[in-house]
């Protein structure tokens, strides 16, 4: 016993680590719930499409609009496609997608599993001889891990489309010139690092939301707290991961 807060934090870290360890062991062991995985992919991926579409599109337009004056000062508006593409592929698309998903999926999963926990549905599953961890946590975490990168790629496409419309409206650039300018400074490492980043972000969102939901305290308050905590914590962790991954990628780029 050092201090209740420190104790609580240490206990939380321990439980989180055990939860992670349980995921790692159970994800490989049968039975596999493919049907539930597909259903969750639908919930996570397809149902998030409208939100990502709107956000990505607006980001593309707004970012282009706001970058134009500073580039125009140098007479370098022809660099807009390159600037937007680097920003979108490198960090905007992964971060936007991850944060949107953290908000939408984190609260969804946190509240769903939290209310299942509170109304004993998770125990009901357990006493039916079904592993609720495998059925609920593994499928949801896998779904977010797989779908967030896919959503990110989609976000790049939509964001570039928004940016292109703006650039075309102002500079009458052709699609080919836009793409050529845009991708001339993008390398494989950029796109792969973004995809890898999104796998990590997706896993983080799923894992944290499932943990918070799975360990919700009883009562309606507990459900709300689980949903809220999963959003806040996953966003926080995503930013930390972003910093770390950028460091690692920069290090890899050195080779």
């Amino acid at each position: 016993m050092i201090h209740p807060a420190v104790d609580g934090f240490a206990l939380g870290v321990y439980r989180g680590a055990r939860f992670f360890q349980r995921f790692v062991t159970e994800v490989f062991l049968p039975p596999y719930h493919f049907r539930e995985l597909v259903a969750q992919c639908y919930e996570v991926g397809v149902r998030s499409l409208p939100l990502v579409t709107v956000t990505g599109f607006i980001t593309g337009i707004v970012f282009t609009k706001q970058s134009r004056p500073s580039l125009a000062a140098f007479g370098a508006t022809s660099w807009l496609p390159s600037l937007i593409t680097i920003a979108l592929v490198g960090s905007l698309a992964p971060l936007i997608t991850a944060l949107i998903c953290a908000g939408k999926l984190g609260s969804n999963i946190g509240a769903e599993l939290g209310s299942m926990k509170v109304t004993e549905q998770i125990e009901a599953m357990e006493v039916s001889g079904i592993n609720p961890f495998k059925y609920l946590v593994v499928t949801r975490t896998l779904a977010t891990t797989l779908m967030v990168p896919a959503l990110m790629l989609y976000c790049i496409l939509v964001g570039l489309l928004g940016s292109y419309l703006n650039v075309h409206g102002n500079e009458a650039t052709s699609v080919a010139a836009f793409l050529k300018g845009g991708f001339s400074n993008i390398h494989f490492l950029d796109i792969f690092s973004s995809v890898v980043k999104c796998f990590v972000f997706g896993f983080t969102i799923g894992m944290i939301a499932c943990y918070k939901g799975f360990n919700a305290s009883s009562g309606t308050m507990g459900v709300g707290r689980a949903a809220n905590a999963s959003v806040v914590l996953s966003m926080f962790v995503i930013f930390i991961e972003e910093v770390l991954i950028v460091q690692i990628i920069t290090w890899i780029r050195g080779f």
Binding site: R35, V38, A39, C41, Y42, E43, G45, V46, L49, F74, A76, V89, L146, M147, P149, A150, L151, L153, Y154, I156, L157, L179, K180, F183, S184, I186, H187, F188, I191, V195
Partner: protein, 336 residues
């Protein structure tokens, strides 16, 4: 209500296909633009300095991107060895003796390696080859020169500003010249007066020369003139006075010249004073009249027997000097 599991699977499948299609599209675009799939050859070049060139920067040849900078490494003392990856398809057009320099794709753009030059007929760039580097026109040099130009320009404009200010205010010689128009009328009047004076002076000297020519004419002077000492003495006095008069005239001309040089001298003022000018003209007229009278006097003297000998003697001496000069000239011509 969610769609049935089968519909869900279809949607998920479509969505994943879309994502994979985007990924493949992006990869192909990148691959196309970065020429990842084109064959390359490696060449190196050693630079004294690379101006912030980085790995991944482009290599240009005749303004076309033909490769990228693969790596940078220190070489020898403080030199930098740059490894370049050049497309094989482009390398066949680059001569082996081409030069490399560091350039930029814009004033604040990325650094690039520019391959240029090379002589027609030398073999194409080979894998593992070394490209000789040329000293680059670095941005720093450009900026240094530009700074020097700036300083000069600043000095010039400062001077100009002072000068134009002074001109406007009428300070200094040029300023006065530009602003004072009385000077111009003065000078033109002076010059006109001077012109008249010089005409008179010319008339006087022509009269003098006529007189001297008559003096030289033989047989005009009586032989016994030399024996008559009083007459000769008075004649010598007359010639001395005449010489003095000439000198005075010369001084007068010099003074006039001085008067034109400065508008502020008393002579100048005298010159453009109409009264003084008239006086001067009168003086000159008198002088001219005086010389005419003198001519008449000399004429009379030639016809006087007293002076005939003296003139004859002078003519003989002249003739002897002339003959001697002719003999000397002939001797000189023979010696040649």
């Amino acid at each position: 209500m969610s769609p049935s599991p089968n519909r869900q699977a279809v949607f998920v499948g479509l969505f994943v296909s879309l994502a994979v299609a985007i990924l493949v599209g992006v990869i192909l675009t990148i691959g196309d633009l970065n020429d990842t799939f084109t064959k390359k050859l490696t060449v190196t070049s050693v630079f004294d300095e690379v101006n912030g060139l980085q790995q991944g920067d482009n290599v240009w040849f005749s303004g076309v991107k033909v490769g990228i900078v693969k790596g940078l490494a220190f070489h020898g003392g403080a030199q930098v060895e740059v490894t370049l990856k050049v497309d094989r398809s482009a390398a066949v057009f680059i001569r082996g003796d081409a030069l490399a320099k560091i350039g930029s794709d814009g004033l604040i753009g990325n650094k690039i390696v520019v391959l240029y030059g090379g002589t027609e007929g030398s073999p194409a760039l080979a894998d593992g080859g070394v490209v000789v580097s040329a000293a680059a026109l670095s941005t720093e040099t450009i900026l240094a020169t530009l700074q020097e130009n700036n300083t000069n320009l600043l000095a010039i404009t400062t001077d100009l500003r002072g000068l134009s200010g002074a001109l406007a205010k009428g300070d200094g010689t040029v300023g006065k010249l530009l602003t004072d128009d009385t000077l111009y009328t003065d000078v033109s009047a002076t010059v006109a007066t001077l012109g008249a004076a010089s005409t008179n002076a010319q008339a006087m000297t022509s009269s003098l020369s006529t007189f001297s020519a008559k003096l030289n004419r033989p047989g005009n002077l009586p032989n016994d003139l030399v024996t008559d000492t009083t007459t000769y003495a008075s004649l010598t006095d007359t010639v001395g006075a005449l010489h003095q008069t000439g000198e005075s005239a010369a001084r007068l001309v010099t003074g006039l010249t001085d008067a034109t040089a400065s508008a502020d001298t008393p002579v100048g003022a005298l010159l453009h004073d109409p009264a003084a000018g008239a006086h001067l003209k009168a003086t000159l007229a008198n002088l001219s009249q005086g010389s005419a009278l003198l001519t008449e006097d000399l004429d009379a003297a030639q016809h006087s027997f007293l002076l005939r000998g003296a003139f004859k003697k002078k003519a003989r001496a002249d003739a002897k000097a002339k003959a001697e000069a002719e003999v000397a000239a002939a001797a000189a011509a023979d010696g040649q």
